[in-house]
Symmetry: C2
Subunit: 407 residues, 2 copies
Amino acid sequence: MLHLKTPDEVLALIQTEFAPLSDRMEPVPLEDAIGRVLAEDIRATEYVPDFNRSTVDGYAVQAKDTFGCSESIPAILPLDREIRMGEGADFILPEGTCCAVPTGGAIPQGADCAVMLEYTEDYGDGSIGITKAGAPGQNMIFRGDDVHPGKVVLNAGRLLSAQDIGALAAIGCSTVPVARKLTVGIISTGDELVPHQESPGPGQVRDVNSVMLCAMLKAFGLNPVNYGIVLDNAPLLEQTMRQAVSECDAVLISGGSSVGVKDATCRTIESMGTLLLHGIAIKPGKPTIMGNAGGKPLIGLPGHPVAAYFITRLFALPLFGRMMGRTMTQYTISAELTESMGANHGRAQYSCCRLEQRNGRVLANPIRSKSGLITTLADADGYFCIERDCEGLPKGAIIPVTICAGE
Amino acid sequence: MLHLKTPDEVLALIQTEFAPLSDRMEPVPLEDAIGRVLAEDIRATEYVPDFNRSTVDGYAVQAKDTFGCSESIPAILPLDREIRMGEGADFILPEGTCCAVPTGGAIPQGADCAVMLEYTEDYGDGSIGITKAGAPGQNMIFRGDDVHPGKVVLNAGRLLSAQDIGALAAIGCSTVPVARKLTVGIISTGDELVPHQESPGPGQVRDVNSVMLCAMLKAFGLNPVNYGIVLDNAPLLEQTMRQAVSECDAVLISGGSSVGVKDATCRTIESMGTLLLHGIAIKPGKPTIMGNAGGKPLIGLPGHPVAAYFITRLFALPLFGRMMGRTMTQYTISAELTESMGANHGRAQYSCCRLEQRNGRVLANPIRSKSGLITTLADADGYFCIERDCEGLPKGAIIPVTICAGE
């Protein structure tokens, strides 16, 4: 019998037992890269912009040709030519002249400044009056100001966001090296379970976990494979587990509340690899099992949907993130607890809550319920933890809440 | 010429001008409902659980038959029968007897309590000793404790999360009424643009906006349709806009820095419906246009990717959310600004930042850059606003940051 591990011990175990997959990189078109995990650092291979650009509509000049000018005494410069949008400026601006340039247009060599249209006058005779002196570098972006070859634009491990896609487009990264989506097998066990599409008979309940876990994995960017419901039957469970391990990168088994099936899960894990833990000092979710079958994690989740939810979120997803080389970041928001919460059972206690914004404050309304009620999860906006060495939280306590709505 | 509207005025305008689409409901299988917007309140039509259940392995009894028992004087009850997992309990427990029941198993009529196995002894002669008195209702979930017919389990407008999927599975909602994904046309304009897959020639730059906007819309749960790059040419732009409006629920036009194209966008909007605004008191993003063509929004975004990003995020997505009937919730996290930021130009100023967690504090490092640099966006974790009536923020100020990483 293994002793209960604390949540921190479980997270440390994940780091030491499982490594990022060595074969995880796959190239995808930039159009499909949103929400994928970057598998390599992305370095620019060119200059952005590739030419000196004006940031205003106006005239490119040599700043020194405008020094000392004013509205009453404009600097009068012959117009050398007009540069249009999308045209190159592959010439040298003759000293003492100017050329018209639009916002974003190319600025020729020789020019070191753009003067805004507002501070100019077109005399119509081929010469332009400049009424405000420019300074070198003014209203210009220089070649490579944004990106130069070799610059790391995005780091490996990042979950690609829309703005990252924009940056990759700008540097011409049309094919992106991302971590392939892990394939994760999902098995539900329990003689009482019927598929959620069916009406439960006497003593039966719908299988909630497999469809919920599929959704969680999908939202995390993985490929779930649902192996359906397996009866509380050790040989059948072993057979399904072996099939799932051979076809997937990882396996989640939920339920199996009977002692026989729990033992069968442990025995199968031991026959396939190493049993890493049996029990976490957490509520809900204590009867959790974790094993390693040749680098593939097998996790035995509790049957209660609320417990299965928390164990997946707190341990399985970070583990899958680790295998994909994903940098895991979790931000919390501060909220004010609307009721006191007791907790003195020596386990870290996780509770769901609904958040409410009122007069600039964020209130966390804990969702209380008996063990295993699925409505504990419904409509939850986030969750918070009462640490194992904490006896409870008073009403009004400011607590960090992790958002779990809309994912 | 319309005057600049403040961001709040624009958001109010969106509410008055655009309504949730009346034809937005479409049914999807529960397996595909994650990340979709619920189109109707979901009411339960049955009891969950549908039978009284034990929350422990043990014996179902009438509590009064155990009153006064103890380890030294157990209550001895004949074992009526054993109930297995997944079996109904369609009988009445005879008074003064007990029946064996597993965790989650059905409890028969007549029994009002489950006694944990730990507090019992099987004498092997068909009778069970109970060593600790039970109380009515103890270790039981009653029929309908979780959900009863008519109870609203989830409200319309909610973005469905994995835990919501679990709740829907529990109540047998296998087909979910969700808002259909809006189809949004995307047009990039500018003579200087080349598709991001191509190498820009002299004076050209890659089209960043269309691929970035597609990614933003996809992450928000919409169907983007990319109409590609249209040259700065009024008749061509009008033709493409008319086609996009006829095929889509909304259209985003980005770029068109030339005065001619801006005017063409405005004129086309006016010829197709109403021009609602031309200019927002915001930085970046001031030269924004919005129109309404028969209930379909047309938004002219600035060409700078950073400005296009913010205008889409701050105004276009809430507008699309409104059309889908989505309840928009935005949480912010508190972070400490690592440098002072100036701002005194009378416009709400949005800035990207990188977040860093250090010693339990969250630091916001603002990303400074010249106008239009795409690397302002790359690697950003969030953004914050300096309100228009604020002259700047000191180093160390605690600011609310909206997370934009990983979406």
